[in-house]
Subunit: 324 residues, 2 copies
Amino acid sequence: MGEFDLIARYFTRPVRRAALGVGDDCALLAPAPGMQLAVSSDMLVEGRHFFADVDPEALGHKALAVNLSDLAACGARPLAFTLALSLPRVDETWLAGFSRGLLALADAHGCELVGGDTTQGPLNLCITVFGEVPTGQALLRSGARPGDDLYVSGTLGDARLALEALLGHAPLPAEVLARARQRLERPTPRVALGQALRGIASSAMDLSDGLLGDLSHILKASGVGAHIDTYITSNLIAEKAYLSGENGHFHLEFIRQCTLAGGDDYELAFTAPPARRGAVAAASQASGTPVTRIGTVLAEPGLQLVDAGGQAVEHRYASFDHFR
Amino acid sequence: MGEFDLIARYFTRPVRRAALGVGDDCALLAPAPGMQLAVSSDMLVEGRHFFADVDPEALGHKALAVNLSDLAACGARPLAFTLALSLPRVDETWLAGFSRGLLALADAHGCELVGGDTTQGPLNLCITVFGEVPTGQALLRSGARPGDDLYVSGTLGDARLALEALLGHAPLPAEVLARARQRLERPTPRVALGQALRGIASSAMDLSDGLLGDLSHILKASGVGAHIDTYITSNLIAEKAYLSGENGHFHLEFIRQCTLAGGDDYELAFTAPPARRGAVAAASQASGTPVTRIGTVLAEPGLQLVDAGGQAVEHRYASFDHFR
């Protein structure tokens, strides 16, 4: 199969909202009046972001999900995306699975594939996603103010738990691993929550490299600090019941590592004034997405971790850095 | 150097036209009223699109140039781009050269870097470029009509000539190779010509995989055929004087191969009605870009090549296919 047949078979669909889709030199997008276009690019590399033997359908899902998560963090509505794909060889079974996972998530969000590129080379997926957001209403990292509440959506740390198990560092029963692995391989981008938080959240970002490291970007951009209640965040790992059962080797420190610095969560972290707690709860309910208040924004820079007894928690949790 | 230092040092500049640039979850673009956004993605892989030892400054130039060439083919004005970069290691000398070449071309076209991604992995560059074009005025592949003139801009075949020399297939004197290599490594995207052809050209595309193969996309999209005068196209190789001198081993067949199926030309191929020849000449002059009429669009499908004596030229020139 040649390059153009491959594109036609697996990646070309009728254009819906875009003015022009796959097959010309450019795609054409026409944002509605009063809308800004939100744009984000993510690149996924074999061995770095996924295992060589990952289910291609899950990989298709995740490649788009991590990009939709960036749109969610801005409060943008997904519109379209481009896919650039470097493949070692044409493997139709792999391509069929990959495009199925990719396009199922795209369809679920009304986000259409409008163009891209295919080439031969080491496996590499680069997606650029486009969304629209009313002018001036995008959620930014820079708006957190002292006294704001600090929230995260959903659960934290299960993706890292799965990764540790898959690397052989943390033995898990099959059914626990299967659940955690879903969080690692099929993250849920919080697109509806992000849009519901427009006009409510003072800042937001998505969690890809671990809560503490990612949060430091909000704090730096906003010129503030924060304290976090680690007895709350430690409860946000979905497998808490299993981990805190009779499994002595999964001690508190491991749970803290997973929840505070695990990475690959693709949840939203955001801030909002205490006066907006009702609005945050309504946004959570309207979007069907649980949110948890985990701390407070402080005027003085730095991140303070506090345990259930009010004691400071020592931390040296490094966030994920692709070059360290 | 970590990922964020790398981005700050080599790829972050003050935002100019974009509403929000590098450093948040998304960049924000605000197309002007009445404008559509033209979008194109290209991925370049080491060993496939460039040699491992290529000058990083030239690579930075080329990575953006091939994307700007897609905007040119649509008649769009460059606005912004994202860069996703997979690097085996942080090599500051390489990064400094790469970003210098990339940003020099970006500045020359007023096209700003608004975001992207960096990761560790086999060298891979993925750029997504954004341009604006008045609604309904984009140049498409599908508008060629029987009787239209067929044109190409600039020169053809020198990039392939350089490639053959670098692969050891075609010995060239150093100064001839140096000139041809400029065409291979530092192509000139025909951005001004593309915009000047809006409202004049009936169809257009850029030439990346070789004239005949690329032209077949216009013909297919437009439901037409074409004839091409190969004695004209064979004269479009810049090194014609050298090649047709005392160098018997560079015979006509080699020149035809380079000009008709060479690849990496990044010129525009376009069609326009004969009544618009004056307008095409004016667009060429206004944009400072030579154009040459090389043939005619025909109603019957297929591509006919004709030599100086009016004889049909047999051809089996394959265009570049990344998976063949």
